[in-house]
Symmetry: C2
Subunit: 184 residues, 2 copies
């Protein structure tokens, strides 16, 4: 293995299986070990009355910012918020992402669930063209990780690395509830 | 989401795509945020002249131990070590894993690449029955994450959650080398 070529990769973790956000956070954990400056923007998380492990863990790392800019999942899991509230939050999250990424201040940026936000279950909170613009204009050195189900071909075409997380077996199928430290 | 039921899950990240170890490390990152005691045993990593991000990052977390007990990959990537050297290291890693897991001292244990070590490319460093024994006898509260390609059906049958990481696109295909902060 060599570190000679430094190219900021565009990485996509998609698919219906568990592990997309986890894989992004694992990359974050590694990157922090190398002194990278890291930003994580979460597009759905936010406004939930639970303690997220990643938020607590981030407190140990001065080079990591995690911003939960969402208003919870949309149209599922008891969501009753007006759509405009989700949409405004997503617009702000995208504007924030552009400003931060284009500043060149970060070595790694994760846009968590942004792919889901583009087009999933008729939830269209984020425009594909905004994400394409981020990929196109990001600083060359910056690694970008995008997560979420149902990645559009236009995104896959522009990514360097795409992994589909395929669900083989999931405990929610058997009624086991979300587990602290594993699911959040 | 609820935290009412606490059941230590057995989680498998398998498949040929990137993201298995990353997803495990992301779960570690989350779990540390909840104050979990975490142990990561890496079955191939070790003896490599590179700085691993996860090792450096672990220094910020007193509840995390990462043990690299391998001797590098086997039969690939320039490996010239006698097989017995790999086998002895794997035997010690399994014995160490059992002792640590059965002690009940950990809330989450990751056996990284252990699945690959069972049976991949004719590399049989770890006996399946030892891993089945770990699953069977682990403390009920302990979450266990196993990673590696080519998971045996016996493991899948005993797991609560299985995700296959499927490679859709990988930069190594285009000759881009492993990237610091992303691949290690």
């Amino acid at each position: 293995m060599s570190q000679e070529i430094h190219k900021g990769l565009v990485i996509i973790y998609t698919g219906d299986g568990k592990g997309k956000t986890s894989a992004a956070l694992g990359s974050v954990f590694r990157a922090l070990g190398h002194g990278f400056r890291v930003l994580v923007i979460q597009f759905f998380k936010g406004d939930w009355p639970i303690v997220f492990g990643e938020i607590e863990s981030a407190k140990f790392h001065s080079h990591l910012e995690i911003c939960q800019l969402g208003k919870g999942f949309v149209k599922i899991m008891g969501d009753k918020k007006p759509f405009t509230e989700h949409k405004m939050a997503a617009d702000e999250a995208i504007a924030f992402a552009k400003k931060k990424i284009f500043s060149g201040d970060y070595d790694l940026v994760v846009l968590d669930e942004v792919i889901y936000a583009i087009d999933y279950l008729d939830v269209r909170l984020v425009n594909l063209k905004d994400v394409l613009e981020i990929i196109e204009k990001k600083p060359a050195k910056t690694h970008l990780i995008l997560t979420g189900r149902n990645a559009k071909q236009e995104l896959i075409d522009r990514a360097d690395l795409v992994t589909e997380m395929k669900e083989i077996k999931h405990p929610f199928q058997k009624g086991v509830q979300a587990q602290k430290g594993i699911d959040f």
